[in-house]
């Protein structure tokens, strides 16, 4: 597995773990009451910062382990990585557009800030997941 594919897997796994943790914490804080009563932004901020830090840590640790097994080209990227990254970005971007439209719709109906912020947050997360998934598929099945 090449350096960029490892980073993509790391990002995908961390995003799923952080999303699940975020949902569990928000539901716990709500305690069965309305979700809009939850002080959501510190949890969301923690999730975003946590995801970034965790992705970096997992990538570094995985890189060290991979380097011990196969020191050749452990941090090397090439044209195929750049092509696959562009493909993944294109897929992820469509989810960002959908999330942006969702946010506009929620603003139009004057939804609670909680729902607007969370629509954007999950839009970012889904865009990242979809982009990562597209990259992994391209690495495994090929990119014409």
């Amino acid at each position: 597995m090449v350096y960029e594919e490892r980073n993509t897997w790391a990002s995908m796994v961390v995003t799923v773990v952080v999303l699940i943790a975020y949902v569990v914490i928000v539901l716990q804080r709500a305690g069965g009451g309305p979700l809009t009563e939850v002080l959501w932004w510190p949890i969301m901020l923690g999730a975003i910062v946590g995801a970034i830090v965790l992705t970096i840590v997992v990538s570094i640790l995985w890189g060290i382990l991979a380097g011990m097994r196969d020191p050749d080209g452990v941090g090397q990227s090439d044209q195929r990585d750049r092509d696959i990254a562009r493909f993944g970005d294109r897929v992820g971007q469509s989810f960002m557009v959908a999330a942006g439209l969702g946010v506009l719709a929620l603003c139009a109906i004057q939804a609670h800030w909680f729902w607007i912020a969370n629509a954007m947050f999950f839009g970012f997360a889904l865009a990242s997941l979809a982009g990562s998934l597209a990259r992994v598929v391209a690495y495994r099945r090929g990119l014409a």
Partner: protein, 74 residues
């Protein structure tokens, strides 16, 4: 969507004929071994630049290394 490339090649046969390993050839053209494997398996169409580099390593023309189906067989 991801689809297999229609460009095929005989890089593997030529490489083996030249006694080069995948790692050696990958190093010579500046890509990862995984990228060379993807090219050999026709899972990735190399850029024109890479195609030229490959053809120069073997001293062959690009169309001797790569094949693309004729228009009437599409």
């Amino acid at each position: 969507m991801v689809k297999p490339t229609r460009v095929t090649n005989r890089i593997r046969a030529v490489r083996e004929g030249a006694g080069l390993t995948q790692a050696e050839l990958a190093r010579r053209i500046g890509v990862t071994r995984q990228t060379l494997i993807a090219i050999e398996q026709s899972k990735y169409s190399p850029t024109l630049e890479l195609a030229f580099q490959l053809s120069r390593v073997f001293g062959l023309g690009i169309d001797e290394l790569f094949q693309y189906p004729e228009a009437d067989s599409e």
